[in-house]
């Protein structure tokens, strides 16, 4: 493995962990399971709905990351200065997003209310309550990722940049798959917990108790990734040239 492969996979994994720490999809999935159980839906059907939601979320993430990577391939076209430009933009964006995450990712007060406009949050709440079949749950999963785009766009651009600088298609595909799996981990954990019979209230209590820690880690990690990308893809290329 060359240094660029190692560095790219480090960026992809770290970016995916940051993506995973954003909570909108987890919130919607928690609500979906709560509402489905409240309607006396069979346990197997609850799991099917949750599975469809996770699939929707995975498909949206894959489509977004693949599209971004494709756009970057067209833009960068193996030119070092373009790669540096994208790295500089991504670094700046992630520093801004890191500060924004610390400042207003969670609203003040109890619960796990997110930064979303309240009307949209209420709409998501109503849609979640009305979701009764797998296709709707799949759509809700897609929506969750797009609604969180404001925050996940930073790590996604960083991951896309790392993916396009990998040497072969197989390496690039591996990078894409790693990002998707790691970013979906919290959803898989909630799925496993609800599937294993854990109470939705306990999951929500845990989320509420640790929300400030998650917020701090997400914001801090964005800034760390921005610094790493700046050093690795901007200063690194300027000092040592292309790998």
């Amino acid at each position: 493995m060359t240094p660029v492969i190692v560095s790219s996979f480090a960026i992809i994994t770290f970016a995916a962990i940051i993506h995973a720490s954003f909570q909108l999809s987890v919130s919607v999935l928690t609500m979906l399971s709560g509402h489905s159980l409240g309607r006396k839906t069979a346990h197997r059907k609850v799991l099917r709905l949750m599975g469809s939601f996770i699939n929707g979320s995975i498909v949206a993430t894959a489509l977004l990351l693949a599209s971004l990577s494709y756009l970057l391939i067209l833009k960068i076209n193996f030119s070092t200065s373009s790669e540096q430009l994208v790295a500089a933009i991504a670094s700046g964006l992630m520093i801004g997003l890191g500060i924004a995450t610390w400042a207003f990712y969670y609203r003040r007060g109890g619960g796990t209310s997110l930064w979303l406009p309240r009307n949209f949050a209420r709409y998501l709440n109503t849609r979640t309550k009305q979701t009764k079949n797998s296709a709707e749950a799949f759509g809700l999963g897609l929506t969750g990722v797009f609604a969180e785009l404001l925050f996940i766009i930073g790590p996604m651009i960083a991951a896309a940049l790392a993916i396009v600088t990998l040497p072969t298609v197989w390496w690039q595909l591996s990078g894409l798959i790693i990002y998707i799996i790691v970013s979906a981990l919290p959803l898989l954990v909630v799925f496993t917990l609800v599937g294993g019979g854990h109470s939705v209230a306990k999951i929500q209590k845990w989320r509420e108790k640790h929300k400030r820690f998650i917020q701090f880690i997400a914001g801090g990690s964005l800034i760390i990734l921005a610094a790493y990308l700046f050093v690795d893809r901007l200063l690194g290329i300027s000092v040592y040239g292309v790998f």
């Binding site: 919607v28 609500m31 619960g111 997110l114 709440n125 019979g197 939705v200 209230a201």
Partner: protein, 94 residues
Amino acid sequence: MSEPVIVIKSHNTKKTEYFDIDKLQKSLIATCRSLKTPDGQAEDIAKSVAAGVAKWAESKQEITTDDIRRVGAKLLTKYHPEAAYLYKQQLTVI
């Protein structure tokens, strides 16, 4: 016969409806069921809590949905603390 209590659903749109004890009961039953409480127990708890909320609302002309949730959660805590937590949280999960 006393006047029906008006529930203000949203401060922005000023959307209102009359207080409906059955609707409240259904919501409480769903919350208890989501924690796998047996049906009979969920219905008993919901009946008691909804009656408590109705009694509290009796003397008021206008109440909000937030008031119902707050009072409902407080009464529900006595019977099922976990359900009370979830009931209170429902609008603040997202």
